[in-house]
């Protein structure tokens, strides 16, 4: 009998692990491939890809001022990715970072707007940061509570929470906190409520880098981090080990929201010096992809958020110099994410072709 026919042409099997140099080759290859696809898009748009990439890189990293701008873009991305990491590690799909940033920004802005002349600047900034963390944390706690109690779908819940809080900012903008009547704009913060600059960029970058170290330690060296990892692997094992899954879930979401809230404070106080409805501006979503593609590794997030920031800043330069719309950065970012998401498949699975598969089976 002909056995060959019965085995499908290509079969899939989970891979038992791969040497790490191969893994990194695949990942870097996927980035290169994405950039090639991006070049194709640029060529279609009528720009010379080589010149365009050159312009992007020089626009993002060519001058000191450019680098500062790039760092400014990377800071919230990195901060938020750090916030999301523990949730995703626990397999809690928090896609509400966008809203948690906004909640934090609102709370921080309250103090910036109404307490600026009552407190000395350092105290004010501290209060703003704490308020941001608390607000972001509480905003994240709501879906976590319902998930723990009634197993309410957290993906959809956190998603909805984003738009509710952004709506609140719109209301504040046009209502109670409006500056000049009819302007729909909240006034600029007092000097005292703005984050001081270090090396030309608001010091949010220092806060975020501290958070990188904090998150790395939290995830890998604390009891909390251990609980999160065990729950993410198997809820049953976690119960067996005596962990209170619901409580850990709520605690982790509070922490995650709090960090997003701090990012909201950094963005409002450091980058914008005011509050508006685009304070999160999609960062909450992009950072999810940053966190995921970094395999939830805090240090890898620095690199990936940097890469995306370079793309984003470079695209701005591309628009001014070559009249290519900035949205090209979203397109290239999208392609990059697709390629990096797709490449994980080749790391986790192996393809067994007919014929080779039989040999494989015999060797077990």
């Amino acid at each position: 009998m002909n056995h060959e026919k019965k085995i499908p042409l290509i079969r899939l099997a989970k891979r038992d692990g791969m040497e790490s140099w191969k893994v990194w080759c695949i990942r870097c290859g996927s980035i290169l491939f994405a950039l090639l696809l991006g070049a194709l898009v640029m060529a279609l748009a009528g720009a010379n890809p080589v010149t365009a990439y050159g312009t992007m890189i020089s626009g993002a990293l060519g001058k000191k001022s450019a680098i500062r701008q790039t760092v400014k873009i990377a800071v919230p991305l990195l901060g938020c990715a750090l916030a999301i990491a523990p949730c995703f590690k626990m397999r809690f799909w928090n896609i509400g970072a966008e809203g948690q940033i906004t909640a934090g920004a609102i709370a921080a802005s309250y103090f910036a707007l109404f307490w600026a002349n009552r407190l000395p600047s350092p105290v004010l900034l501290l209060v703003m940061g704490l308020a941001g963390a608390l607000a972001g944390g509480l905003w994240a706690l709501i879906p976590a509570f319902f998930k723990a109690k009634w197993n309410t779908n957290e993906t959809l819940f956190t998603l909805m929470m984003n738009y509710i809080i952004i709506g609140v900012v719109r209301w504040l903008q046009g209502g109670p906190w409006e500056g000049r009547k009819g302007s729909q704009i909240i006034p600029q913060f007092d000097e005292a409520a703005c984050l001081p600059r270090v090396l030309g960029v608001h010091c949010g970058w220092i806060i975020v880098l501290v958070l990188v170290v904090f998150m790395h330690i939290y995830m890998n060296h604390t009891k909390h981090g251990y609980e999160i990892a065990v729950i993410g692997d198997s809820v049953n094992t976690a119960r067996y080990a005596g962990m209170n899954v619901g409580r850990v879930m709520m605690r982790t979401m509070f922490l995650s929201g709090a960090i997003s809230g701090i990012v909201g404070f950094i963005v409002a106080s450091g980058a914008n010096n005011t509050l508006y409805d685009g304070v999160a501006g999609g960062v909450g979503f992009t950072s999810i992809t940053v966190a995921w593609l970094s395999q939830l590794n805090a240090f890898a997030m620095v690199g990936i958020s940097g890469l995306l920031a370079v793309l984003s800043k470079g695209a701005e330069t591309l628009q001014t110099r070559m009249a290519v719309p900035t949205s090209i950065s979203d397109i290239i970012t999208g392609i990059l994410l697709f390629c990096m998401l797709g490449c994980e498949f080749f790391i986790n699975y192996k393809l067994i072709f007919r014929g080779a598969g039989r040999k494989e089976a015999r060797h077990g």
């Binding site: 896609i95 197993n151 909805m160």
Partner: protein, 331 residues
Amino acid sequence: MGNFLSLFLALVIAAITYGTPLLFGTLGEILTEKSGNLNLGVEGIMFMGGALGLGGVFYYEKAAGAGANGMIAVGIGILCAFLAGALASLIFSFLTITLRANQNVTGLALSIFGTGVGQFIGEYMRVRENGYIAIGNTLKGFFQNSPFPAFLQKIPVVGGILFGNSVFFYLGLLLAAGMFFFLNRTQAGLYLRSVGESPATADAAGIAVERYKYLATVIGGGVSAVGGMVYIMTIAGCVWNHEGLSGVGWLAVALVIFCMWRPLSAIWGSVLFGALMILYLRLVLPIVPTQLYKILPYVVTVIVLIASSMRNNKEKQPPASLGLAYFREDR
């Protein structure tokens, strides 16, 4: 009293106008989610549909000149938008079904990509056509006016509501009814639902799980994209308006939950959401700030989500395998 009635009727008609893009967005996403795929890229898909739909109609008019046929223009708009959405969803499907990437993350990536593409094309056309993209008034009429004769629209009270809407609302009604029929009265619909509920069961019954997932997601994406085109061609007045369009896709995702994955409920759900979107213009209450009206759809959705999880009614739940990848050997 008569004043109140006419106010109310005007509100309903406006709500239908605003609800129609949502209806398409939602119907497409319902089809997608019934296969167990949670495609969070609807926002991007609708952007792509809006930009490409507009582009298709614009270049058709440019090519055909004065002889442009309204029906053909509408058809081209739908086709271009559908293909754009189908293509975007094909990327999503390939990544999540074949390459087993995480659905949440892939959907968000598609959102970023799609809004980028839509925005890019919108801008690019504007730049190339020297700053202005406009559709002639005759064609515009085909997109925005009622397809019914005037005497029907003039029937007192109900005429406007029943016959005064754009052609897309009626297409949406047909689509919703068709989808209801497909999901509940055909074999393929039953199989599709089984794939979304329990892919392992469907697989064991000999149903081609991956094929169903691909088809549902790609067609669903196409339908959602038509919603984006409808927004641009009706509400935005046939010009590219990314600010108006932004958020509509997410609202469509919310509406899917609100109507509990049922296409017929999506009809009144979309009109309700449409009403909530514009209520601040029509019904100004001093106690409720206008901007807070706009969050009502999301608040209502959250309440529905919580209530359905608390009641734990087996019938009113998301498809059981929503968001999960299926790999046969994992059993």
